[in-house]
């Protein structure tokens, strides 16, 4: 169901062109989008803006995405925020431990997904679209 104000999304991604493309696609669907290029930057934005959903890359300069997710889940404001891992890294043991513990809504390999898939997953995670999209 549409709300009066658009849902706020935070894209945590250090690859600027990728962020730009995602931002355009998501804004085209009516979302409001903020960007962060590092985990530290993302924490600052998230604490301040309390986004409705975070699209999170894993390989980031400094603290990585799974570290950021863990830190978020330990804080009161970040416990329930839906997170979609958006990465090109195949999951290893460490990542899987974080996935099980910190419950992201999806773990998406960017190269295997279209931007439409990602927009669709964002909507599902926010309860704006049923899971069985077919």
């Amino acid at each position: 169901m549409a709300t009066a104000s658009p849902k706020l999304l935070l894209i945590v991604e250090d690859e600027a062109r990728m962020t730009r493309m995602l931002k355009e696609a998501l804004e085209g669907e009516g979302f409001s989008v903020k960007e962060a290029v590092s985990a530290e930057n993302a924490l600052m934005h998230a604490e301040q803006d309390h986004p409705d959903l975070i699209l999170l890359d894993i390989m980031l300069p400094g603290l990585d995405g799974m570290g950021l997710l863990k830190r978020m889940r330990q804080s009161a404001w970040g416990k329930k925020i839906p997170v979609i891992i958006l990465t090109n890294v195949s999951p290893d043991d460490g990542i899987m431990t974080g996935v099980v513990r910190d419950e992201p809504s999806y773990y998406i390999i960017k190269a295997d997904s279209s931007m439409d898939d990602i927009v669709s997953k964002v909507k599902i995670a926010l309860g704006m679209q049923p899971i069985q999209a077919g």
């Binding site: 690859e15 062109r17 990728m18 493309m21 390989m59 839906p82 090109n88 890294v89 195949s90 999951p91 290893d92 043991d93 899987m96 996935v99 099980v100 419950e103 992201p104 809504s105 999806y106 773990y107 998406i108 390999i109 960017k110 190269a111 295997d112 279209s114 931007m115 439409d116 995670a125 899971i131 069985q132 999209a133 077919g134």
Partner: protein, 494 residues
């Protein structure tokens, strides 16, 4: 100076393994050689103990025969005396031959055989004498043996003197008989004294040999213990080298895989998304060739992305152990979700997907792996079924477990390619023609997952009519397995 550990670390893996194999072979051969030596030595000592028994028995019999001869004056007793002496004399011939610089082993062998030693023991007797002649215990025993032989020479002389005295006496009357008796008395006493001396020498020989035997057994035990310890240490070192090498190779491989995933996928993502955006824009400004080029880029980037993921999955799958984390889930829901994922592609191609499920089918299964199985079989069915075709997905419970059936009305698999369908990177001729985007890894992964999870897969196919895959999940559900490989992208739907 380079330390051995640093030197070993600098070697290539193959050289390390050559060194390991050579060290193992050396220790193994040394161990086997030592064991052979130990067994042969102990057997040889046993043969000497047995030989000493025969020597002593013969000497005693000779002494008794001589004593009897002194009373009976019977030639047969004297002949017995001489016959019993052949044993110590045979052994003596063997000893004297073996003492030479270049002994005639045939003569030595014959000497020991004359000493009534068992033919199988003769070589052992020669072996011990030649190899350990100057080892203290054997040397002492041989000195005793030499003294014994000297006493045997005296015994021969006593016998010879006695024989001469008895032969010379006519025994014509009582006085002559008394004179003979008087002449024999000192010889009889000498014979008895000699016997006592020889008994002492025989005891000394046995004691020396026994002492030597115990000493050699102790040395061999120490040697075997040291060898076992050396072998154990070597095995431990080998284990450490292998563990370290495998860890290094694993780490290098994981790092390489991570680098490949990120470095290849990142530019590919950008190209893929750019092409997707391009396809959504107005392409009418392009020439037909230009539009074809956009479609080619779209198809090829998808193909490359799928190929990279499949190759990474297959490589990780082979490098480690696939983790299977089953929990009770409704396979009907999983099947419906999988169908929903592929429905747009099926519709685009004008295919119908028919579903036949029970209301629910709860069984322990790993949702991620189940997703990989469904996705691969359904996408294959869509790829290889021509427009207007039907794909059927059905689920059922049977005594052997949960049965998943995926059938299509597609092109089918040719007879000569059926045996290779589950092989890694195999692509049939028609598959390559129909779908150049495929990687030939999907069914290989499905079969490998099912094998690891305790399930199975088989298929029936008729060319031009279609293919049906039958998957069986064990009745107790997917088998849980600890490991280090998560195969596909995990999805944590909430």
């Amino acid at each position: 100076m380079v330390s051995p550990i640093r030197w070993l670390s600098s070697l290539s893996v193959s050289k390390k393994f050559y060194i390991i194999i050579c060290s193992m072979l050396f220790v193994l051969l040394f161990g086997l050689g030592s064991f052979w030596m130990a067994m042969t030595t102990m057997s040889a000592i046993r043969a000497y103990v047995a030989g000493e028994g025969l020597w002593s028995k013969a000497q005693k019999e000779a002494t008794i025969s001589l004593g009897r001869y002194a009373i009976s004056h019977s030639e047969s007793d004297y002949e017995d005396f001489l016959r019993f002496l052949r044993v110590p004399l045979g052994d003596k011939r063997a000893r004297l031959e073996l003492e030479k610089q270049s002994p005639d082993l045939a003569l030595a062998r014959q000497g020991f055989l004359d000493g009534e030693n068992h033919p199988d023991d003769v070589n052992l007797l020669i072996f011990l004498f030649r190899r350990f002649r100057h080892v203290s215990y054997l040397d002492a025993a041989i000195q005793v043996w030499m003294r014994g032989d000297a006493q045997i020479e005296q015994l021969i002389r006593i016998g010879s003197d006695m024989h001469a005295v008895i032969t010379a006496s006519g025994m014509a009357d009582e006085s002559a008989s008394a004179a003979l008796g008087a002449a024999l008395v000192p010889l009889i006493r000498e014979n008895e004294a000699l016997d006592r001396n020889l008994t002492l020498l025989e005891n000394e020989f046995s004691a020396t040999l026994g002492e030597g035997s115990r000493s050699i057994a102790s040395i061999l035990l120490t040697l075997m213990t040291a060898l076992s310890a050396l072998f154990g240490v070597l095995v431990l070192c080998i284990y450490l080298v292998i563990a370290r090498t495998v860890t290094e190779v694993d780490a290098a491989k994981s790092e390489f895989v991570a680098m490949v995933s990120h470095q290849l996928r990142t530019p590919l993502t950008l190209i893929k998304w750019s092409v997707e955006r391009l396809r959504k824009s107005d392409l009418s400004v392009l020439t037909p060739h230009g539009r074809d080029d956009v479609e080619t880029m779209h198809a090829e980037t998808k193909r490359m992305a799928a190929f990279i993921s499949d190759i990474l999955d297959a490589s990780r799958f082979e490098a480690g152990t696939l983790i299977i984390q089953p929990y009770e889930l409704d396979i009907v829901v999983a099947a419906r979700t999988a169908v929903a994922e592929v429905l747009p592609a099926a519709r685009e191609k004008g295919l119908t997907i028919e579903e036949a499920y029970p209301d629910s089918l709860i069984t322990p299964a790993d949702p991620t792996l189940l997703q990989v199985i469904f996705a691969n079989l359904l996408s294959n069915a869509i790829k290889y079924t021509p427009k207007g075709g039907v794909i059927r997905l059905s689920l059922a419970t049977q005594p052997q477990g949960t049965i998943i059936v995926v059938s299509d009305t597609g092109f089918g698999i040719s007879t000569d390619e059926r045996s290779k369908v589950f092989s890694k990177l195999f692509r049939g001729k028609s598959a390559t023609r129909i779908d150049p985007v495929g990687t030939g890894l999907g069914l290989y992964l499905v079969k490998s997952i099912l094998a690891a999870a305790g399930g199975s897969i088989r298929f029936e196919s008729a060319e031009g009519k279609g293919t049906t895959f039958y998957i069986t999940l064990p009745r107790e559900g997917m088998r849980s397995r600890k490991g280090n490989i998560h195969l596909a992208s995990p999805r944590a739907d909430r």
